[in-house]
């Protein structure tokens, strides 16, 4: 158990270091940190002095270490364009993105599981086939078009739902939520559907494929041969085994859903991190880009760790020893 945990943690740290390195390289070499502070018309001497005082002439490893140290303390520098600490910008927009991403993931996971199991158990059924075909169309439908389509239908045509923003939010300290007000909830509906749709089709196809795979195994045949009820065979035995790979991939999807929020947030003018990132790319606000990269990396690593732990809980084979036997 401890060895397993330790290995996961080491890997997480390595990935995080790699991401930090990329972020640092961007921060240090792509933008011009000096120009961003003093502007274009400073003298060469001023620039030299500033570079010295910022430590830009120090050896590379020292600079990287300093960058890491600052990042750990939540200091990502000052935004070139907005002149405010990047950390403040991120914190301000974090709740909007987290709320949107978690709700979408929840919807995608629940619906994806139900539809995937249904499609697997009724493989030849008409509804299952319709669902599968629709999911292929879903893959070809760009996220932003789904959002625009929803806006046209529910905001422009039917006038039921707001087309942009979060509505009224309630603040708890630094955290804000739209779930407690009517307009907040209404504002969430379309972005959640838009963001969750792609993940939903993905999870559904995955669950279906895994279920079909497991249904072909000997232990399912043997379970049937022992006269266990269909309910137990499908939902106790098959589903639990199908869940092992589903957990991994769904977990990884949870990480990417945050990044996918970039598009959804732009479509709905959602005041989250993704929209901030797109703005920063447009105007080449390097510190914000670097910080966002670190943030996504962190989410990715944390989700991975959680997935590893879940795996450990679901699959007893991992608990015994270090090696994973083939399924």
């Amino acid at each position: 158990m401890l060895a397993y945990l330790l290995r996961s943690l080491t890997q997480a740290t390595l990935v995080m270091l790699a991401v930090a390195f990329i972020a640092f390289s961007m921060f240090r070499y792509v933008g011009d940190p000096v120009a961003s502070i003093v502007g274009q018309d400073a003298t060469l001497k001023d620039r030299q002095e500033l570079a010295d005082s910022l430590g830009l002439n120090d050896p590379f490893p020292l600079q990287f270490a300093r960058f890491l140290g600052n990042a750990v303390q939540g200091d990502f520098g000052i935004s070139y364009r907005q002149g405010r600490p990047v950390a403040d910008l991120l914190i301000e927009r974090l709740p909007a993105t987290i709320e949107l991403a978690l709700l979408s993931a929840l919807v995608a996971l629940c619906l994806g599981l139900v539809l995937g199991i249904y499609a697997a158990l009724n493989r030849k059924g008409v509804i299952a086939n319709i669902v599968m075909s629709l999911s292929l169309i879903g893959v070809s439908l760009p996220t932003f078009l789904i959002g625009i389509g929803l806006i046209f239908l529910f905001s422009v045509y039917l006038r039921w739902l707001p087309s942009f923003g979060r509505g009224d939010v309630v603040a708890f300290g630094w955290w804000t939520t739209g779930l407690l007000t009517d307009s907040g909830r209404k504002s969430l509906i379309m972005p959640v559907i838009t963001l969750g749709f792609f993940q939903l089709t993905l999870i559904m196809r995955l669950v279906r494929a895994e279920m079909l795979e497991v249904m072909r195994t000997e232990y399912i045949k043997f379970a049937r041969a022992r006269g266990l009820s269909d309910g137990s065979v499908h939902f106790r035995h098959a589903l639990r085994n199908a869940m092992v790979p589903v957990i991994t991939i769904t977990g990884l999807q949870l990480g990417s859903i945050i990044a996918f929020a970039i598009v959804t947030e732009t479509v709905f003018n959602w005041p989250g991190l993704g929209a901030l990132f797109v703005r920063s790319v447009e105007v080449v606000d390097i510190p914000v880009m670097a910080a966002y990269l670190m943030f996504v990396g962190l989410v990715f690593v944390v989700v991975n760790l959680i997935v590893d732990m879940l795996y450990f809980l679901v699959d007893p084979r991992l608990r015994g020893g270090a090696t994973v036997p083939a399924r």
């Binding site: 990935v15 790699a18 961007m26 792509v30 933008g31 292929l136 169309i137 893959v139 070809s140 439908l141 760009p142 996220t143 932003f144 078009l145 625009i148 806006i151 046209f152 905001s155 422009v156 087309s163 990884l252 990480g255 990417s256 990044a259 996918f260 970039i262 598009v263 732009t266 990132f277 797109v278 920063s280 790319v281 447009e282 080449v284 390097i286 880009m289 990269l293 996504v296 990715f300």
Partner: protein, 320 residues
């Protein structure tokens, strides 16, 4: 038996006619003929590609030459004649009197160009890195495959955005417009190479241990070139499937980037740019400016996706 040893086996020389005959007898062709979905999606894709290639000839209006536009034609509804030039706007016009139907030809051309170019770029990069990883092994392999793993777990759009942002930081602002197409091709291409690398590496590993590669190594010749020649035909199938599906993804990715405002500028519009500019008129009721580019984008992506799906099944009967 002896006569066989005396005369060397006749060298196979295939005429075009032979090749066509072989192709017509192949499983792939038979499966193609039997699949209405494959035929339909190929037809749709070809139609769109031809329309895009001959945009200059086929489009009724040179939609992105300001001289050709008449402001009085602005906001014509679909199937309405413009008030300025009295030209028929099949799919309506935008505020500047640009014919949406004509704009589609040019927009599709750019979308396809970016899609195809970035797929070729990612294919070359992925196959090259996959071969190197599989052949060299050791630390290089670990590094390449680790980067591929990490990259595959992030959405391509995020990676493309980052690359785009970095490129912007390195290129002086006055050159944004002239370099935009190249930047976006590289950004999308770099975000999609990992799958190719994985596939090619897997078959390279199999091939590397075969005797002819070992023999070449023993003789002091690099086995790399020989092996590449043997590996490539083996991976053509999977690579083609990945490339087809990636083409649909790349077109969507480009449209998304352009929609986000970080892709192609309005002077060089792709389908995504057209959709972006159409979005602001949605609330005021000029739906056609957005609808038609969106429709073409979805139809194109769906057709290519279906084609890729069919290709995967046809090349890999086990999966059916």
């Amino acid at each position: 038996m002896s006569h066989l040893a005396a005369t060397p086996p006749p060298r196979l020389k295939l005429t075009l006619k032979d090749r066509v005959a072989i192709w017509r007898d192949s499983d792939l062709w038979l499966s193609f003929k039997a699949s209405p979905v494959a035929i339909l999606s190929t037809a749709v894709t070809l139609l769109i590609v031809i329309a895009a290639i001959f945009a200059d000839v086929l489009a009724p209006q040179n939609a992105f030459d300001p001289v050709a536009l008449n402001l009085l034609d602005g906001f014509a509804h679909p199937m309405e004649r413009g008030m300025g030039s009295s030209m028929l706007f099949v799919m309506g016009s935008d505020e500047q009197g640009r014919d949406i139907f004509s704009a589609l030809f040019y927009g599709t051309r750019l979308s396809l160009l970016v899609g195809v170019a970035s797929v070729i770029f990612s294919m070359v990069l992925g196959i090259g890195l996959g071969l190197i990883a599989g052949y060299r092994g050791g630390k290089i392999e670990m590094l390449i495959m680790r980067v591929a793993d990490i990259q595959l777990s992030f959405p391509a759009i995020l990676i493309a955005l980052l690359i785009f942002g970095v490129a912007r930081g390195l290129i002086p602002p006055q050159q944004y417009e002239t370099t935009a197409v190249f930047v976006i091709i590289i950004a999308i291409g770099l975000s999609n190479w990992a799958q190719h690398a994985r596939t090619v590496r897997a078959s390279t590993l199999v091939e590397r241990n075969k005797e002819y590669v070992q023999a070449a190594r023993l003789m002091g010749i690099s086995g790399f070139g020989i092996m590449a020649r043997h590996v490539l035909p083996n991976v053509m199938g999977p690579v083609l499937v990945i490339a087809t599906i990636n083409l649909a993804l790349a077109i969507i990715e480009e449209a998304t980037l352009s929609f986000l405002g970080v892709g192609l500028p309005i002077t060089q519009p792709s389908l995504g740019t057209l959709i972006r500019s159409g979005q602001k008129y949605l609330l005021s009721g000029e739906w056609w400016i957005l609808l038609f580019p969106a429709m073409i984008l979805v139809i194109l992506a769906l057709a290519i996706n279906l084609l890729g799906d069919w290709l995967r099944d046809a090349l890999n009967p086990k999966l059916r």
